[in-house]
Amino acid sequence: MQASLDEIISRYKAGSRESLLPLLQDIQIEFGYLNEEAILRVGQHIKLPSSKVYGIATFYDQFRFVQKGKFHFKVCRGTSCHMHGSLSILREVERVLNLKEGQTSRDGRFSLEAVSCMGACGSAPVMNVNGEFKTAIAIQDIAQIINFYRSTI
């Protein structure tokens, strides 16, 4: 059962600036992204213009403004992964999924994100699908990995 926006907002004190980021984080955990309504409501609650709330939210990498796909692909673009060819991996995933990084497919099944480091440098290059790690991946394996997820829906 999803907690409603009101319930999440009421956990925090009105008008306190320092609870802005935790509040946005809680909303994102619950709904997966920040929509327009959430930004407006948070603005009213914290007593900040919603433009400012939006400005702060876009500053940080964590906040998303589109819904995640059912399968969320994260490709690591850290230094170690880069040296092991993660750029080609990212391009290949983009090609197979027919998505650009940061996008969600129209049917809501897939989304793709490039992250700066997942801290798994020992097993580079790594990719993460819904929390499950794929380590030391080769370009040839990608189509197979993605087809596996395609067939599970």
């Binding site: 984080q25 400005g55 880069h82 020992g122 790690f133």
Partner: protein, 643 residues
């Protein structure tokens, strides 16, 4: 709870007598020095989980259940050997703890079968732990005599991967929190500041400011409220030591925080953890709850009159928030942009109150200093930099993982003696130290020693301690481009030189790694103009940015240009990338002896650069080739080759 009552009354109380036989035995049992039933330890830090430790955990439990064996399974943190994960240690009663590498779930059964029959399998053995109370296994090397561990000096990582991070009792049994209680019972806050000052500890986050001096400044500022912030916003790609400390030994960090807060007179501490570090966040949260349970958090702790509270903050992910004033802004719910200094945070920081911000590694050193005294700490390292430093080694090194060495160790020793050199027998090309705003050092500079000033003299920084090893297959122009791209994306946008300058540098580097097809004369001129101005541009960024990140932003480029000038010139003049990394500069040709004329490449070529008749050898027209490499990938006869 019995365990808790015992620890509080017999170990932590003022009149506790730790020399009693029963106490010694109970503590040995708590820290698994002696065991009554077999114990299986599984390395379950993030690196272990990535390698499949969760499956191993399930497999071990299933095995124990099926065979009806009574044993304890403990999930420990990372011992530092990330490339050998998942690590599994087994300790039978009376026998030394023995460690195995790369135990994926399918290997669990054979391993446990052998071990429970008191046989040591020949494969995957790493070593055994040295313990006087135990019988050693035959023909198994001691773990601290392995080349990887022999040269290390572990202060911060001492218990990572060894002790049980889920249990506060384990930590207390290893002497934990006794130092904290000694401090709040016997020492004035001023005395602690002095001890840390004498120890010569310097900030491990990169700045290298004397920790004791920083504390003293905050301590001497009069205010109704002071704050301590633990900076665990580790967002450099290739740095993961803070995460390992938090996951492997969270109570060490918390004890360090508690002591520091008392020393500067702060009653409130914040820990700022990266949002991506979900496991680290979970571990800290759990550890803080245990502290509350034991009464280390709250009012009048252990009747000493000291109040203390910890708040966990999830950093919403921005590289710049590693800068202390940006971090303060982020906690206050603003954009993470740096503020001008002075006033220093120690005078006017979070919510305008005196605030000390220390890195995880700095704080994790504190319990050691106060337990063993400043002189003992002084013996480690070199005069300019006391103590040890943890490095996260990644890239093309044979062993990737965490290494803790005394300051003053040479970089060559770390890479070749501890990490085993370069993977796959390739040649060493460079090592990148200090994260994205650090610099690349070539083979000729490997004898530099680890420290603050010693690295600064060569334009390098110690940074947070990422060490990325690069082999001959790495293109230095590409690496410089990669870092500039990262810094340009992560620039907060406050200062124009950093915001626009990094973008320009990235564009110029893009230009020189792109094949100049159909380039007009003017564009060629622009390209060369950019290259000529690179050095000037870097200087402007360095001189006119506000925060440390902006000032060091051109470092990766400057160091690459300094040490690998020939490679840059090759890219600019010969339009060639010797490592074959810059894709658009690659030139292919078809080996006429091997080509059978299957037309696979001819059909796939997006720029119609391949000509030929079926069953006749094909040719590539260089002027039309865009270097995409599709022909190289589709050729089944290895006839397409790189020039």
């Amino acid at each position: 709870m019995d365990e808790k009552k015992f620890l509080i009354e017999k170990v932590l109380a003022v009149k506790a007598d730790l020399t009693q036989r029963e106490v010694i035995d109970a503590l040995a049992l708590l820290r698994h020095d002696t065991v009554n039933i077999p114990v299986v330890y599984i390395g379950s830090g993030t690196c272990g989980k990535v390698a499949g430790a969760n499956d191993t955990f399930v497999a071990v439990n299933r095995y124990l259940e099926e065979k009806n064996i009574k044993a304890e399974v403990v999930q420990v943190g990372c011992i530092g050997l990330c490339s050998y994960e998942p690590l599994v240690d087994i300790q039978l009663p009376g026998k030394a703890r023995i460690s195995f590498k790369s135990i994926t779930h399918e290997r669990v059964e054979t391993l446990l079968d052998d071990i429970f029959n008191s046989e040591v399998p020949t494969e995957n053995v790493l070593g055994q732990f040295n313990n006087k109370r135990h019988n050693r296994w035959n023909n198994v090397p001691l773990i601290n005599e392995l080349p990887f561990f022999r040269l290390q000096h572990r202060v911060v990582l001492a218990n990572c991967g060894v002790s049980n991070p889920d249990s506060i009792s384990d930590y207390i049994a290893r002497g934990g929190y006794q130092t904290y209680l000694k401090c709040i019972r016997n020492y004035t806050s001023e005395k602690i500041c002095n001890i840390v000052d004498q120890s010569g500890l310097r900030g491990r986050g990169g700045g290298g400011y004397l920790t004791g001096e920083k504390w003293m400044m905050a301590h001497n500022t009069v205010s109704d409220q002071k704050y301590l912030i633990c900076n665990a916003a580790e967002s450099d790609p290739g740095a993961f030591m803070d995460r390992a400390v938090i996951e492997g030994d969270p109570h060490l960090l918390l004890e360090g925080i508690a002591i520091t807060a008392y020393a500067i007179g702060a009653t409130k501490a914040y820990i700022y953890v990266m949002d991506e570090y979900s496991q680290a966040y979970f571990m800290l949260n759990q550890a803080i709850n245990q502290l509350k349970d034991f009464g280390f958090i709250g009012y009048n702790i252990f009747e000493s009159g000291v109040d203390f509270k910890i708040t966990l903050v999830k950093g919403p992910g921005a590289f710049v928030c590693g800068e202390e004033t940006a971090l303060i802004n982020s906690i206050e719910g603003k954009r993470g942009m740096p503020r001008p200094k002075p006033p220093y945070p120690a005078i006017e920081g979070l919510f305008g109150k005196p605030t000390v911000i220390n890195n995880v590694e700095t704080l994790a050193n504190i319990p050691f200093i106060l337990r063993h005294g400043p002189l003992h700490f002084n013996e480690i390292g070199i005069p300019e930099a006391r103590g040890t430093k943890v490095f996260a080694i990644s890239g093309k090194a044979m062993i990737t993982g965490l290494v803790e060495v005394p300051m003053g160790t040479s970089i060559r020793d770390i890479i070749f003696k501890i990490a085993g050199g370069v993977k796959d027998g390739k040649d060493f090309k460079a090592v990148q130290i200090g994260g994205p705003s650090g610099s690349c050092l070539p083979a000729s500079q490997l004898d530099l020693t680890v420290g603050y000033e010693s690295l600064w003299s060569e334009g390098a920084i110690i940074g947070s301690g990422g060490m990325i090893v690069m082999d001959e297959d790495t293109c230095m122009v590409d690496i410089a481009k990669f870092f500039m791209n990262f810094l340009q994306k992560e620039s907060c946008g406050k200062c124009i030189p950093c915001r626009e300058g990094t973008r320009r540098i990235h564009e110029i580097l893009e230009n020189i790694t792109r094949r100049p097809t159909g380039e007009s004369g003017f564009e060629v001129l622009e390209r060369f103009k950019g290259i000529i101005q690179l050095a000037d541009l870097s200087e402007v960024i360095r001189d006119t940015s506000l925060c440390g990140l902006g000032q060091t932003a051109p470092n990766p480029l400057l160091s690459a240009m300094k040490w690998f000038r020939d490679e840059f010139e090759e890219h600019v003049f010969d339009r060639k990338c010797r490592a074959g990394v810059c894709k658009e500069l690659r030139l292919f040709y078809i080996d006429v002896d091997k080509c059978i004329g299957c037309v696979a490449c001819l059909r796939k070529c997006p720029s119609n650069a391949i000509v030929g008749q079926p069953r006749q050898p094909h040719f590539i027209i260089e002027e039309k080739c865009i270097g995409c490499g599709i022909c190289f990938d589709v050729c089944k006869f290895v006839a397409v080759k790189l020039k």
